[in-house]
C-alpha cells in the first residue's frame, strides 16, 4: 500500500508539469490576444505594446513558460490579466470552497438517492418497479443540464405565482441557494451511480457464495448486509472517486446559469478572455483533484477488497 502511495506521489509533479506545459502551449498558440480583449475598442498601439511588456507577453514562449513554472514552484500562480492583476491564487481560494461545497452536496445527494434506487431495482429484478426505476434513471442521465435548468426555473416560477415566494432562482450564500443547482448537478451522476449499483448488485446476486450463504440457512437480511452489499460496493467506489473530481469542475454550465462564484465558472470566463494565468491555475487544480481522487479510490479499494491487499 505504501508502495502505491509512494508511486503516486512521485508521479504527481510530472503530471502537474505536463498539464502546465500543455495548457500553456495550447493557450500560446490559440488565436486571440488577452491585451486586445482587455482594451476592447480603446485601442492604441503604444499603450498596447506597453501593456504587453507589463504582463510579460512580449517575451518568447519558453521564457514565459519558464517564468510561470518557477513561480509555480514557489507557490505563485501568477496574476490575472482581467481582474486588474489580482493574484490567481486569491481567485482560486474564493472559488474552490464554493465548487467543493456544491460538488459535495451533489455527490451526497446522488449517492443517497442513487444507491438505494439501484439496490431496489436489483432486488426487484424483472418487475414493474425495476422498469419504472430504470426509466427514471435513464431519463435523469440523458437530460442535459441546459434542459433541466429551464424546467426547474419554470416550476419554481409557478410556485412563486401560487405562493408569492419560492426558491432563489440564482445566487449563492444561503442554504436555499444550494437546492436547485444541487439537483441539476446531481441528476446525471445519480443516474450513473444507480445504474452501476444495479449492475453490480445483479452480478453479486448471481455469485456462488450468495447461494452458499442461502443454503446454509442464513437470514436474508444478514446475507444482504454482510455478503451482498460489501461485495457490490466496489464498482461504485470506482466511479465515486473520479466523480468527485468531475463534480468540482464539471459544474461549468450550472455555475454560470445559477450565478455561483465557483471555480468552473471562473475557468470558463478565463478561457473566453484569454486570461492565461487563471486558465493554467484552474487546470492545475483540476489535475491535482483528479490525481488525488484516483489515489483515494485506490486506497479505498484496498480497504474493501482484501485480495488487493495481498497482491500489493
Amino acid at each position: 500500500m505504501f508502495a502505491l502511495i509512494l508511486k503516486r506521489l512521485i508521479s504527481l509533479p510530472f503530471v502537474i508539469l505536463a498539464v502546465t506545459f500543455l495548457t500553456f502551449i495550447v493557450g500560446y498558440f490559440a488565436p486571440g490576444d488577452p491585451i486586445l480583449n482587455l482594451m476592447g475598442n480603446q485601442r492604441d498601439q503604444a499603450i498596447y505594446e506597453r501593456l504587453r511588456t507589463l504582463y510579460g507577453l512580449d517575451l518568447p514562449w519558453h521564457e514565459q513558460y519558464l517564468r510561470y513554472v518557477v513561480g509555480l514552484l514557489q507557490g505563485d500562480f501568477g496574476l490575472s490579466y482581467r481582474f486588474a492583476q489580482r493574484p490567481v491564487i486569491d481567485l482560486i481560494r474564493d472559488g474552490l470552497p464554493v465548487s467543493l461545497l456544491l460538488g459535495l452536496n451533489a455527490l451526497l445527494f446522488s449517492l443517497a438517492l442513487g444507491v438505494p434506487l439501484g439496490v431496489l431495482a436489483a432486488l426487484r429484478h424483472n418487475t414493474v418497479i425495476e422498469r419504472v426505476i430504470m426509466a427514471l434513471i435513464l431519463a435523469l442521465y440523458a437530460v442535459p443540464s441546459f434542459v433541466l435548468i429551464p424546467l426547474l426555473q419554470w416550476l419554481n416560477y409557478q410556485v412563486y405565482l401560487a405562493r408569492g415566494s419560492a426558491l432563489p432562482a440564482a445566487g449563492w450564500g444561503r442554504p436555499e441557494h444550494w437546492i436547485m443547482p444541487t439537483i441539476v448537478l446531481a441528476a446525471a451522476s445519480l443516474g450513473y451511480i444507480a445504474r452501476i449499483t444495479r449492475a453490480s448488485m445483479l452480478e453479486t446476486l448471481g455469485q456462488d457464495y450468495i447461494r452458499t450463504a442461502q443454503s446454509k440457512g442464513l437470514r436474508w437480511s444478514r446475507i444482504q448486509w454482510v455478503h451482498l452489499f460489501r461485495n457490490a460496493i466496489l464498482p461504485i467506489l470506482t466511479v465515486v472517486g473520479p466523480a468527485i473530481a468531475f463534480l468540482v469542475t464539471g459544474a461549468f454550465v450550472i455555475e454560470t446559469l445559477f450565478s455561483i462564484p465557483g471555480i468552473g465558472f471562473l475557468s470558463v470566463e478565463a478561457i473566453s478572455q484569454r486570461d492565461y494565468p487563471v486558465i493554467q491555475g484552474t487546470t492545475v487544480i483540476l489535475a491535482l483533484a483528479v490525481v488525488v481522487m484516483s489515489l483515494i479510490t485506490d486506497l479505498l479499494y484496498v480497504v474493501f477488497d482484501p485480495r488487493i491487499r495481498v497482491n500489493a
Binding site: 486586445l36 445566487g171 445559477f258 473566453s272
Partner: protein, 535 residues
Amino acid sequence: MRRTLAILFIFLTSLFTLSAAAQDTTTLRWSIEGISDVVSLDPARATDAQGFMVIGLLHAGLVRLNADLLVEPDLAESWTISEDGLTYTFTLREGAAFSDGTPITSADVVWSLTHALDPNTGAWTGPYLLSNIAGSAELVGGETTELSGVTAVDERTVQITVKQPSAYFLSQLTFGPSKIISSAAVEANPDSWDQASVTSGAFSVQAWNRGQGLVLIPNPNYWQPASQISQLDIVFNQDSETAYQLYRTGELDIMGGAQNPIPSARVPEVQDSPDFRSTNAFNVRYVAFNNELAPFDDVRVRQAFAHATDRETLANIVLAGTVVPTDRILPPGIPGSEVDVEGLAFDPEQAQALLAEAGVDPVSLEITLTYGVEGDNERIVTVLQSMWQENLGVTVNLEPLELSTFSSRLNDTFNDPANGLQAYFSVWGTIYPDPQYFLSQILQTGVGNNNGHYSNAEFDALTQEADVITDAVDQRLELYNQAEQIAVTEVGWLTLFNGQVNVLVRDCVEGVDVTGLFSAYVVPDFSALRGCPAA
C-alpha cells in the same frame, strides 16, 4: 439547561428584532449582467460598461452627465474656459468631502488624473480618454512622473490645460478615469484602497462579495442630500436569463443593460408590463470593408453592396422589429443626428449597374464576410449573405470567429491590411454622446479604430475642423453632417441598424433614467433615488 434555554431565547428574540429592523429600510436590488465580478473599484482600472456603472455610483468627478446627457457640475461647482479653449479652471464645492469626512482638495484631483495616466497603474482607459490633457503623452510614455497639464492653483481651484480645443473634453471628464479618489486613503492603504471603502460619490462600499455582488450604502458626505434608500445591492449575473428568473421571482428591482438587455425571447412576455423600459441605444451595427484590398478599394463596389442590402427586411422581418434600420452613421439621439443624411437606398438594379461599371464580373467574385460569434450575429450575416448573392450574383463566404479571435484578427487587419480581413460585421457604441466618437474616432485616416482603412481627405479636414470647435455648436454639427454625408456616400461603413436598450425597472423604483449610453443608466439626482418598500 435552563441557562442554555435562556441564552437561546435571547438569541432568537434578538434575531427577530434584527430582521424586523431590517424591514423598515429600503434596499434597492440592481442586477448587472454579462460579468461575474467587477474588474476593480479603482476608477482608472474599470474597463467595461458594467465597471463604469459601478464606478459612477461610488466615485464622483469634477463633472457628470445629467438626464439629458449634458455636462453638469458634480464635485466642481463651476468652471471657466479660457478664450483660446485651452485652459479649464474648476472651482471645487465648498465643504466637499470624501466618505470618511476628509475634505476633497485640488491635490486629490491632480493625484487622481495623474494616477489614471500613470503607466504603473497598468490602465488604458485613462490614456485613451484623457489624451487631450497637456503632458499626458509624456506621463504615459514614462518620460516623467508628473502630469504637467493639471495644476492645483489653491485648495479649491484646479487648472487643466488641453492640447487642442475640444467640445467633448468635459464629456470625457464624466467617465471612470476622471473620478476623484482620496490620495490620503491610497497612502494609508496602498494595497487595499481599491476596495473603495473611501469614496467621493453618492455611495460607498459596505461589502464586496467576490463573484456575487456589492453591498453599497449611501455616502453621507456626498454634496447632494442622501438618497431615500438605505442599501443598494449590486448583483452580478453572467447570464441575462438568470437575471430575468431572479427578477420575475421578486428578487431584483432593476435588470438589463445596453450590452446585455432582457433576452429577446422574453421581450414579448414583458413588453406590456409597466416595468418594461425601452430606448434607442447609441450604437450601430455595420459592415466594414477593407479599403486597401480589391475589390473593396473601389468605391463603386462598396456602393453596390450597400444598394444590395435591404435593411428594412433585416430589421423589421428577420429581427422582428427589435432594432431600428439605419443608413447613416450617427444613431438617433446623438447631437447632429437631427440633420438628415442621404443614405444609399435598397436598389438591386443600381447595385448591379455599379458593379458592372467597376468592371467586376459578379459570377467570378467571391468575398468573405467575417464576424464574431455572439447573439444574433449568425442570423444577421446569413441574411446579408443571401441578399448579396441574390441581388448581386456574387458568392459570399461567411467566416465565424470566436470573439477573442475576431478582435485579434481586426488588430491584424489594422496593422497589415494586405493580409487582413476582406469585410467584417461588427458593432460600435459610445461612452459619451458626441458625433466625434462616431465619425472622427473611427473613419479619420489612420485612427486606431479605422480597421477598414477608409480614407478621404475632405472627410478628415471636415472632422478635424469640427473636433476643435467649442463655441459654435451649429457650425460644428454642420461640419460633422457634411463629413458624415461623405462617409455614407462612399460607404466608409455600411451601417445596418441601431439597437434597443430593453430593461426592467420595477414600477416603484424612482430616480433612475434609462439612456442609450453603453452603461445604460443615469441617476441624475441621487437624492431622488427611491427603492420599493420591502414586501
